[in-house]
């Protein structure tokens, strides 16, 4: 089995806010990230898939196809958008705050089962060079 990783980037705005809490609780837990005007990051996404090498093509997956799936199902939805306001899984009513951890989980759910010939192995999301979250699915 081979692991193969494709990288992509997107730039998005977000803020952290739990609707079930008071303003004071939100500010205490989330600090500057609770500013409702939002702030943004250049996110780097690494999608790692696992699979066997096709004896004829020598590929685990068609990289162009993987790139297109990531572009269509993630980058085109997240890039230059406000995650809380414009991406359905992070709407206030969903209760899913767009933290780096939850972004990794949401991207996993967007991509799982869509990559022909390979199994999604890991989603890694860098919020900054010195901070990233990994999700390996339910295990």
């Amino acid at each position: 089995m081979i692991l193969l990783t494709r990288k992509a980037e997107f730039s998005s705005a977000h803020y952290y806010w739990n609707e079930a809490w008071t303003e004071e609780q939100n500010l205490r837990v989330f600090g500057r990230c609770a500013n409702k005007n939002g702030h943004g990051h250049n996110y780097t996404l690494e999608v790692t898939v696992a699979g066997d090498v096709d004896p004829v093509s020598g590929f685990v997956v068609d990289l162009k196809e993987l790139k297109e799936i990531v572009q269509r199902d993630v980058v085109s939805v997240y890039d230059h958008r406000h995650l809380n306001l414009e991406v359905p899984e992070f709407a206030a009513s969903s209760g899913m705050i767009p933290t780096t951890e939850n972004i990794a989980i949401a991207i996993w759910r967007r991509l799982e089962g869509k990559i022909p010939g390979a199994k999604l192995h890991r989603v890694r999301v860098y919020e900054m060079d010195d901070l990233f979250a990994d999700y390996y699915g339910e295990r």
């Binding site: 939850n102 989980i105 010195d130 990233f132 390996y136």
Partner: protein, 147 residues
């Protein structure tokens, strides 16, 4: 609040990167002078040398349903500041108690950092990876050994 929220969410891993600069000299008392020079080469220079270490600390656990987080990043940074950076940054590793009887290779340093973060109460440490230079990195994990 964060500490009392449901902890049954999906399990994720959060990695934070810290930087520190320290000196060391690789020298084992059990070896003769010549053996030390053979085994450790230029790292055996009696005056020591130094690195800018890049230290990746990975914690894992269920994503707290109320905060969307594995742990409070501020708490992790505070712990790292107190127990990692203040202990090791701008120090000579050979002079520290931790390396009194242990050669301060980056392998041993990685395990020592892992041991330190086992004392962090906010989330469970699952991996420590240290870049000694841009070309060398070392990793220790009791959970993610195969990743």
């Amino acid at each position: 609040m964060a500490g009392t929220a449901l902890n049954t969410g999906p399990r994720a891993y959060l990695t934070r990167r810290y930087r520190l600069s320290a000196s060391h000299r690789l020298h084992a008392e059990a070896y003769s002078q010549e053996e030390n020079r053979t085994v450790y080469g230029k790292c055996n220079n009696p005056h020591g040398h130094g690195h800018n270490y890049g230290i990746e600390v990975t914690v894992g656990g269920p994503v707290n349903a109320k905060t969307g987080m594995v742990c409070d990043l501020g708490e992790l940074d505070e712990f790292a500041q107190k127990h990692l950076l203040q202990q090791f940054d701008k120090r000579n590793l050979n002079t520290l108690d931790e390396f009194d009887e242990l050669v301060p290779t980056t392998e041993n340093f990685t395990r020592e950092v892992y041991r330190i973060f086992q004392g962090f109460r906010g989330a469970r440490i699952v991996r420590v990876r240290i870049e000694e230079t841009g070309n060398n990195s070392f990793e220790y994990s009791e959970e993610l050994g195969k990743d």
